[in-house]
């Protein structure tokens, strides 16, 4: 490739990184945390989920039958149930939904959402569908997951922004591959004893080259998940379904309504759940949908994860007889490879297709994705500050460095603050909605951290951000023990294995961060010493 073209690609790579770098860090870092949002952090954040929850198929069957009578036959066309045993939600959720004709001749979906205690199946709340899906009850785990998905900017702005960031990451990857001409020659090169700039350069290259396929998968799936619901589906519906998005989704997704016989026959939910668990131990069932509940032709779609298919599997049963009709993927109705690819998008993005081992790999590599723009930007600042004829003023590089420390370090601090904040909120505001407090804690800490490097010295600001982060991570476990009584010495009695593992990992991360801070301090002192020595030599 001509050197002039490579120079143009280098300019494009630099500008894309400069414009989107900090945002890309925000998305990638929150993504690395969001990998564990469900169920690990959800379990940690909710005391009532910490102990394993039995399936209780009989209790579930009876409860649905009882509430089906209350809502009436018009709302039994679709019954959606989220099983509490997977512990991905603070409550067991049952939605009774009916389709009604509007005055204009269209179709309207209306329904009631019941929320139950996941263990006792006691009714906690009842809302109509519109109210339920518009209310936001977030704990720190869902806060992080939503922040990663749309930066809490809502639809469509947030989703489009994150989708576009996926596209810009793809641009950076492609341009990076072309401009980095010694990919194989420098595959194992990491020089830490030479200059800081060289170390940053090597770190940037090794993290991008080794994980290039991972970064590409994350960028592509991220762009797809961000843009699919706000651009791709409306566009496809406009082209093929006269703009009817619901019809498009119904056509391509696996849950299809049966032909209602209008003959009442009980739907054998308990039998279906029990036989599924017995016959498919490889699957963890998270939710099911009954189409035409209580009818002779009712169909039950039971969805589970964990089989050899990337996107999980749906078992389809005849509701009245509990007979297994078929198993299918979520987009199993699409012909060829399209369905398989669409099914793979979500698990490939979040790494939830191979248990905690794959999730851990995805989280660590996600942190590498987050560090790419940081090392790139640091390299740009370092080169600018050390250049004899820099492209911009020295103050521009210094201010950019301050912004980088504040935004990126501040995000880490704000995320870490959510852990003790959640424990304190659970204790002091038990049973109340914590959403506003979580928002307030996170954004106030982040804003203060962003402003800090502009007020105090950069090295002190970095220390003031990283040290509290490390100590808060370490102190989560003792705080949890004090506030909830759940600690490592009674874990065999409480069986809080997941939450205790989270506490242990946080403590290890805290200790690791303390080590990094002490190394940074030493490096900073060494750099200042060598700079002073050079200055004396020049004089």
């Amino acid at each position: 490739m001509k050197s002039i073209t490579i120079k143009k690609l280098y300019t494009l790579h630099s500008w894309v990184g400069l414009i989107t770098g900090i945002l890309l860090f925000v998305i990638a870092f929150t993504g690395a945390v969001a990998v564990f949002a469900r169920p690990e952090l959800k379990i940690w954040a909710n005391e009532n989920l910490r102990t394993e929850i039995p399936v209780q198929s009989q209790k579930l069957d009876e409860t649905i039958a009882q509430y089906a009578e209350i809502v009436g036959p018009d709302y039994l066309e679709e019954v959606h149930v989220r099983l509490p045993s997977t512990r991905v939600d603070g409550s067991a959720r049952v939605v009774f939904e009916g389709h009604f004709e509007t005055a204009e001749g269209g179709e309207e979906h209306k329904g009631t959402v019941f929320q139950f205690d996941p263990v006792s199946w006691e009714l906690l709340a009842e809302n109509d569908m519109e109210t339920f899906f518009n209310q936001h009850t977030l704990d720190m785990s869902t806060f992080m997951a939503h922040f990663h998905a749309d930066l809490h900017l809502g639809r469509p702005v947030g989703l489009i922004l994150t989708g576009l960031l996926g596209l810009t990451l793809m641009v950076s990857i492609v341009t990076g591959i072309f401009i980095h001409r010694k990919i194989l020659a420098q595959l194992f090169t990491f020089r830490i004893t030479k200059t800081f700039s060289l170390m940053l350069n090597d770190a940037h290259k090794l993290m991008s080259v080794w994980a290039v396929l991972f970064h590409s998968v994350i960028a592509f799936t991220g762009a797809f998940l961000g843009l699919a619901t706000v651009i791709l589906i409306p566009a496809a519906a406009y082209v093929g379904f006269n703009g009817d998005q619901e019809k498009l989704v119904e056509t391509f997704t696996a849950v299809k309504p049966p032909v209602i016989a209008n003959v009442a026959m009980p739907t054998k939910l308990a039998d279906i759940i029990d036989s599924s668990i017995k016959d498919r131990p490889d699957l963890t069932f998270s939710r099911f949908t009954v189409m035409g509940y209580g009818d002779k032709n009712a169909l039950v779609y039971l969805s589970g994860d964990g089989s050899q298919q990337l996107g999980g599997e749906t078992l389809v049963y005849r509701g009245a007889t509990a007979e297994l009709l078929r198993t299918q993927a979520n987009f199993g109705r699409l012909e060829g490879i399209t369905g398989t690819i669409l099914d793979a998008m979500f698990p490939l993005h979040f790494g939830n297709f191979g248990g905690i081992f794959v999730k851990s790999i995805w989280a660590i590599l996600g942190l590498a994705t987050a560090l790419l723009p940081i090392t790139g930007l640091m390299l740009w600042i370092e080169r600018g500050l050390n250049a004899q004829h820099p492209a911009h003023k020295k103050s521009t590089y210094e201010n950019f460095n301050r912004l980088l420390i504040g935004c990126c370090g501040g995000l880490v601090l704000a995320t870490v603050t959510l852990f003790p904040a959640q424990l304190i909120l659970n204790e002091w505001m038990a049973g109340q909605n914590h959403t506003d407090s979580i928002f307030l804690t996170f954004f106030s800490v982040w804003i203060v951290a962003i402003l800090m490097p502009f007020v105090i010295q950069q090295s002190n600001a970095l220390k003031a951000i990283l040290l509290p982060s490390a100590w808060m991570l370490i102190l989560v476990m003792p705080l949890d023990a004090i506030l909830t009584g759940s600690h490592i010495f009674n874990v065999l009695q409480t069986k809080h294995y997941v939450s205790m593992s989270v506490n242990l990992v946080l403590m290890l991360l805290g200790i690791l961060l303390l080590v990094v801070v002490s190394k940074l301090k030493k490096q900073y002192v060494n750099r200042e010493y060598s700079q002073a020595k050079n200055l004396v030599g020049e004089v």
Binding site: L187, I192, W210, F214, Q308, L310, A344, F357, V358, L365
Partner: protein, 82 residues
């Protein structure tokens, strides 16, 4: 089996390294590729074909980064060497 697969990936990556570059000797390259190929087969055996491939790619990337980062700590280069 998971531990064996991870060790194979690790050995395979170390075989591919020659003084900070990708090894040029066919013997080292083939050995490295062979170890990784066996690891792919083991991952596919554990997770199924599609999942196994992606688990391998993730593990390969992570171990590659860790090995490269640890080379200067285990074998520091003499100062002045490029």
């Amino acid at each position: 089996m998971l531990a064996i697969a991870l060790i194979l990936v690790c050995i395979g990556i170390v075989c591919l390294n020659y003084k900070g570059s990708l090894a040029k000797q066919p013997k080292s390259v083939l050995t490295g590729l062979l170890f990784n190929l066996v690891a792919v087969v083991l991952f596919c055996q554990m997770y199924g074909f599609a999942r196994g491939i992606f688990v391998f790619l993730g593990a390969f990337a992570l171990i590659g980064i860790v090995v490269t980062l640890s080379i200067p700590i285990i074998k520091p280069r003499p100062s002045g060497a490029e």
